[in-house]
């Protein structure tokens, strides 16, 4: 027996969730499909390939205040930002959930990022399997899969006139409505995803660091931050203090290793000043340094950077080029 | 009596003419609305459009850029360049929905204390007529 919810009951459930919590789901605005807070169930897009930006924004905002400084009677107090409302992130695909699990590693490793931790703790992830992977998707090569429920709280798979309900975690179990019933139903098989030769990539990367390949690849790169900002696992940021009208606060905003001043240090020296070195860093962080430190590749294969890149820097091509290069260089 | 809306204005005045003109208004005991905050700059040609945008961002309702009359620039041609630059910036601001009346560029000489007083008064009235700028949330 499988647990099941009808389409009608799903809508009622979502309506209830909108009342009780913040519901973030894919919606279309200005022709762009983005994860945004919704107030009407009918605005939610259920059948989609990938959103333009990843849902990492729900936990690691493009800009957020980390703490404010309060001054009173000669005393100075730091008031940390808190997350005071529960959120449901609805409709994310398994690759995006895996992206979150990857970001958990750096953010929640001790000393943990408390604001990120709060966002995570107060958000429930209700996922939809990916039924139509794009041509640029390669999740299966990165350890995920279009129907993989692992990093979600609930997975809803469309079947017949409703959805098969899979509560993956206790948090997911808690949020389920009573309209979920038991039914004899077979879940559809996952679609196939084009593979990339990622096996052993991390070790091969070690051998090709000095290859002229990287500066040649950077010829084409315009060094914007698009790839980093659409990526579900890019987590670099900048921090600065703001003072305005007596209010002092520390703010964090997205940054990217492709920015010219990203690694510039006091005195003006920049250890990664060449464009080739900056572009190389992007791939080394994902395919070499991150696995070294956290034991998993820092890419989920969602294909967003491939689609959004203005000059077609394609990580699939980079992976296969690196494999060829590594084979040529030898061990 | 209701308190009238008091606009906030930033004035970038050139050191050689307009700042001296404002000084003249002061030493002649002329009164004009206290809504303007004056910043002295070497020349109207030094006023970067960024200074204007930054003023608006920080909550200014209006910005005044003022320099020597054409032909009188201490640096010969700074104000001619300012004239071209701000003509375009005003069009751009207007296109973005920031009324072009909010950016005024005027020529005031060192002896025109009365003119400076008139200018600040009429600009204040104009901004009162336009009302506060709509908030751009931070």
């Amino acid at each position: 027996m499988t647990r099941f919810i009808s389409k009608k009951d799903l809508i009622t459930w979502l309506e209830k969730l909108i009342q009780e919590r913040i519901l973030i789901a894919p919606t279309t605005k200005n022709g762009l499909l983005l994860f945004q807070p919704v107030s009407e169930v009918e605005d939610i897009v259920l059948d989609f390939q990938n959103t333009e930006l990843s849902p990492k924004e729900c936990f690691f905002s493009a800009t957020e205040t980390l703490f404010a400084v309060k001054r009173e009677d000669g005393r100075t107090e730091l008031v940390p930002a808190t997350v005071d409302r529960d959120t449901v992130l609805f409709g994310l695909h398994p690759c995006d959930a895996m992206g979150m699990a990857i970001n958990d590693k750096p953010f929640l490793a001790e000393p943990a990022d408390t604001l990120y931790g709060q966002h995570r703790a107060r958000t429930t992830l209700i996922g939809l399997p990916c039924s139509k992977p794009t041509t640029e998707c390669f999740c299966t090569s990165m350890g995920g899969g279009p129907h993989d429920p692992t990093h979600l709280d609930v997975l809803l798979t469309e079947a017949e006139d409703g959805y098969i309900v899979q509560a993956v975690t206790g948090k997911g179990e808690e949020i389920l409505p009573s309209s979920v019933v038991e039914r004899e139903i077979v879940s559809p098989p996952p679609p196939s995803v084009e593979p990339v030769p990622a096996a052993g990539i991390s070790e091969v990367m070690e051998r090709v660091f000095e290859a002229p390949y990287w500066s040649r690849l950077a010829d084409r790169c315009i060094h914007c931050n698009i790839c980093a900002y659409v990526c579900p696992t890019c987590y670099c940021f900048d921090v600065r203090d703001y003072a305005n009208g007596g209010r002092i606060e520390r703010v964090r905003s997205w940054e990217s290793c492709q920015s010219p001043g990203f690694t510039r240090i006091a005195g003006g020296y920049d250890p990664r000043s060449s464009k080739g070195a900056r572009l190389r860093q992007r791939f080394y962080h994902k395919l070499r340094y991150f696995p070294q430190e956290f034991g998993a590749l820092g890419c989920v294969g969602c294909g967003r950077c491939i689609r959004a890149c203005p000059v077609n820097i394609d990580i699939r091509e980079v992976i296969s080029d690196v494999q060829k290069l590594g084979a040529k260089i030898g061990t | 009596m209701a308190v009238e809306y008091q606009p906030r204005m930033v004035g970038f005045l050139c050191n050689w003419c307009s700042y001296a003109g404002a000084d003249m208004a002061g030493t002649s005991r002329m009164t004009y609305p206290p809504n303007i905050r004056i910043i002295r700059v070497p020349c109207s040609g030094r006023v970067d459009p960024l200074l204007v945008m930054k003023s608006f961002e920080q909550g200014a309702d209006g910005v005044l850029v003022s320099g020597c009359h054409p032909g009188d620039c201490h640096y010969t041609e700074g104000n001619y360049h300012a004239r071209r630059r701000f003509a375009l910036l005003r069009s751009l601001l207007d296109f973005l929905g920031i009324e072009k009346e909010r950016l005024r560029v005027e020529w005031v000489s060192a002896s025109e204390g009365g003119r400076f007083k008139e200018l600040v008064s009429s600009f204040t009235e104009e901004l009162q007529r336009l009302g506060p700028r709509s908030e751009v949330s931070p």
Partner: protein, 288 residues
């Protein structure tokens, strides 16, 4: 025809590379989606066969000349792109004798997205009347017959006709979604400051926040820094991942510059740009 263009470019590239006239040829090749094009840097004759040219070759490659200032380089340039070469020559950013321009007489390019090439020409191409590059050393292709250009600023006029409040609301909504990825800047041949105002720390003009107030300053000043300099290649709008209509701003300023000063950027390498000169007696609605 299209295949022919790619071949002609390839042959010229082979000649230039083998004779040592240039060290690198910047052109186009097929992207990994098999549909669109991407920039290609050819350093050796073995790669010249990868060169293509068709209506998906939308990139303005002249931006890359700024990365190769001291090296002899050939570049494939459409008419709009060629205006950027004049801009860069005028601003003393590149040397004419170090650049070999393979001009392409252009019939227009199509709207492309990843894995998709449109059927119809880009809006700007439909309005374009410059079908032959303004500067080139070698020309391939054939320009279509001249036609009177249609009204080029319909959308600008439409926006001007709206109320200030409507315009403000419109742009606020557009700028609010900016994520400050700076792709518009990075792709622009006119945006080459070694340190952009937006990244300067002293003075700190714009903070790091990706938020409406900062976004507005960034987008306004970006457009303003291109007054009399924007050559209309529309690359900024193409690369914007959030579809902000940047060309509407650029063309508003282009229109103003044309009406006030009769100037069009990049038409000649010698013409003095409007902000580098002035007329003593001109009336611009300021201080009058």
């Amino acid at each position: 025809m299209r295949q022919e263009l790619g071949q002609q470019i390839g042959e010229k590239a082979r000649e230039l590379l083998s004779s040592g006239v240039v060290e690198c040829v910047i052109g186009y090749e097929r992207a990994t989606d098999g549909v669109t094009a991407r920039p290609l840097f050819v350093y050796g004759v073995e790669d010249v066969d990868r060169l293509i040219f068709d209506d998906t070759c939308i990139h303005n490659l002249t931006r890359y000349l700024l990365n190769r200032r001291d090296k002899n380089t050939a570049v494939v340039a459409k008419p709009c792109d060629s205006r950027a070469i004049n801009l860069l020559l005028n601003e003393k950013q590149i040397e004419r004798e170090k650049v070999f321009i393979i001009g392409v007489a252009c019939q227009g390019v199509v709207e492309t997205r990843w894995n998709q090439a449109g059927e119809t020409l880009q809006a700007r191409c439909q309005l374009c009347s410059q079908h032959t590059p303004v500067v080139y050393d070698f020309l391939v292709g054939e320009a279509p017959p001249e036609q009177p250009p249609p009204e080029a600023y319909a959308d600008v006029l439409e926006m001007e006709a709206r109320s200030a409040a409507e315009r403000e609301a419109f742009w606020q909504e557009q700028f609010d979604r900016c994520i400050r990825c700076y792709a518009c800047r990075q792709v622009c041949p006119g945006c080459y400051c070694s340190e952009c105002f937006v990244e300067q720390l002293d003075p700190l003009w714009v903070g790091i926040r990706i938020a409406p107030a900062e976004n507005q300053i960034w987008n306004t000043i970006r457009a303003f820094h291109l007054v009399g300099r924007c050559i209309g290649c529309n690359e900024c709008e193409r690369v914007c991942p959030l579809n902000i209509p940047l060309s509407l701003l650029n063309r508003k300023l282009e229109k103003e510059v044309w009406e006030l000063f009769g100037f069009q950027a990049g038409m000649s390498a010698e013409a003095v740009p409007p902000f580098a000169t002035f007329e003593k007696e001109e009336k611009l609605g300021i201080g009058e």
